[in-house]
Symmetry: C2
């Protein structure tokens, strides 16, 4: 990327700048997780201004969260030390909060919405409302010199955070940030603010969607809190297995949203059968099996992928790899992959959970039963993904057990 020099701005440089600003704009507009997005904003702004370090603060209510920091000097130093001494470098500290007031530099920028372009952080003129805090420098034997601090402001003027760039480099020395970069960084920051807002809104919508599915699925099955937790674990196990099988992000999300509805058809099975404490008669069992087809009926003919996947899962999650399952007795890869995944997630959760008619099995017992079922009940490929993802599976199991 072209680095600019205020004294002689060449047309070529500016043309390139337009293109690279635009390229960044496009990258910011694309769908990211919040962390990916913040990483992108900071990396691109540092590159654009040739800054050796930088941080991003994200506004949360009346505070600024120190969300991300990059420092090529300290990172290099840590890597060198690692090579020399064989110790693993500790990651730079983030995660603390600043209150949104004028005492800190970031707070000042966040409250006033003004840019601060400081030639030397150690020589801030007396009488300014803000102060530079040297504790990070002292702890890390670092010298913060020039700083450019820019508010992340959307077009309505709302501050979503603060971008802090440190030590603009000219060769090996830190020089003040050129005046020219103020406007550019502000432009970039505004676009970043909009992207952060979009990302948070999309995230909130998905959370709301998922919570709604959980609640309504539980309600539809008319069950107790045990079902609620079962449905949440199932959803996460299924997503982990899908990820382990290398499915795309979208497919993983689809199964996360769709799997909680797998037993929705149970509302069509009489309570006398569903809750019967004794063994079902052959006829009752037949009626019980119908919950797969009833579920398919409730979810059929949908336009949305999530609902198409949920229909598939509702119908096929009781099929078995060897063809001995229901309702259609499909075998092998004739069973849709989503159904094969949920089959395992469902059984694993049933085994490891206490039910009214059985205690929770230990992990040893559970794994034994699942191994027995490999190639008979379960798809061996799904079992392999299950084995590979055991850490993530156990994390979910432990989080939700109480």
């Amino acid at each position: 990327m072209a680095k600019l020099n205020t004294k002689s701005i060449s047309t070529k440089g500016l043309q390139e700048q337009i293109l690279s600003l635009n390229r960044i704009g496009i990258a910011l507009s694309e769908q990211h997780s919040l962390n990916e997005l913040l990483e992108l904003i900071l990396t691109e702004s540092r590159e654009f201004t040739n800054a050796e370090a930088g941080s991003l603060y994200v506004r949360e209510g009346n505070q600024l969260r120190f969300a991300l920091s990059q420092n090529v000097v300290l990172e290099k130093r840590a890597r060198d030390k690692e090579k020399r001494e064989g110790v693993t470098a500790t990651k730079s500290f983030t995660g603390f909060y600043l209150s949104l007031d004028k005492s800190s530099l970031a707070g000042y920028v966040g409250v006033t919405g003004k840019i601060l372009n400081i030639p030397d952080a150690y020589k801030i003129p007396k009488g300014r409302e803000y102060r530079f805090n040297r504790s990070f420098d002292e702890k890390n034997n670092y010298r913060t010199k020039s700083m450019l601090m820019v508010p992340l402001k959307d077009s309505s003027g709302n501050v979503a955070g603060v971008l802090q760039l440190i030590n603009a480099r000219k060769g090996k020395t830190a020089v003040p940030f050129s005046k020219h970069f103020e406007t550019l960084a502000l432009s970039l920051a505004s676009q970043a603010a909009v992207s952060i807002k979009n990302t948070l809104l999309a995230h909130e919508l998905k959370e709301a969607y998922l919570d709604t599915i959980f609640r309504l699925s539980v309600a539809a099955e008319y069950k107790d809190d045990d079902t609620a937790v079962h449905i949440q674990r199932m959803s996460q196990y299924s997503a982990i297995l899908a990820e382990g099988l290398g499915l795309s992000k979208t497919e993983v999300e689809n199964i996360r949203f769709a799997s909680p509805m797998h037993d929705i058809g149970k509302l069509g099975v009489p309570d006398s059968i569903l809750l019967k404490p004794a063994k079902l008669t052959a006829e009752e069992f037949k009626e019980m099996q119908n919950h797969t087809l009833i579920g398919g009926k409730i979810l059929e003919n949908a336009k949305a992928d999530i609902l198409k996947v949920s229909e598939q899962i509702a119908v096929t999650h009781h099929e078995k790899w060897d063809g001995s399952g229901y309702p259609h007795g499909l075998a092998g890869e004739n069973i849709p992959l989503y159904g094969r995944i949920v089959a395992l997630a469902d059984v694993f959760d049933a085994l490891t959970t206490k039910r009214c008619y059985k205690p929770a099995f230990s992990m040893d017992e559970t794994m034994h039963i699942i191994k027995e079922g490999t190639g008979r009940h379960f798809d061996p490929t799904v079992i392999a993904a299950f084995d590979r993802s055991m850490d993530a599976i156990m994390a979910v199991k432990n989080k939700f057990s109480n």
Copy 2:
């Protein structure tokens, strides 16, 4: 906005251009309906290149939909005629489809992803794969001269549409589009492509969410197709009333999503009561009323606004303005506005629909009953919004009745 001349690009002009490109980028990133977004893309690109006309084609599968067109010359002519003759100008024609192949100009750009910069549409050199179609010009007595056609390509190279700019103006004459604009328009178009994709994705997610709520709410109530249609109409009536009351876009969306869950608590009421053909005893009626509180229980303690609103609606949609409703006997503005809105939407739909125990009432009978209930059952302010929105209400009623 600075207009450029390739011969002498001033630094000032480019600096301004960076800012205005960025401003456009921000505007594109913000949340819009698809139509607002397309309008914005075309207006800004025309202004940027000083083009007197332009169109936008949006890709739908293997076709290009002619989504939007602007033409200052024809629009002025139409306005003048309107003034002179008092006839209303017809809107420019859009909405037709082009197939995505190389025969048309837009198709060529869409298929190849290449820019076309044509000095004179009537003098396209022989042997080119594409042809200019003069039928629009002939019908409208218009002369298309210079054209700049740019693909809307996202960063993965997917073409989301085609931007067509017509007649770059220098004073009153149409001149060729400067080479310099090709890159700029392409940049703008890429960002537009990402924004269009984001808008469509957000729209799809919301549609999926709403469809899921419909299906699961019906499932939870364990009812037939009549309930499904009731829930959909209710949702739309409620949104129309909220709009008529001047609630914000977000509030209108919240009630649209939340209102289908109003009767979710009915799953906790025994079928013997819910489906009893005779009049309920006092005790049975008490138990029936409980569906409001059960609904509140299912939806309580949620983080998402949609679920918070749905909890409020589930609990309060049987309260009455004069305090004679249930479960809490709230009166007047002590009943949350969302509850007052859904109360009317629910009763209006019940009255105008055939139920097993009653025929559908005529609109006259229905309006008579609702007027009787104004200030007793219903909030007079909501009734006023209902009266004002009668056209939209009837459109929903007619759309879903069969």
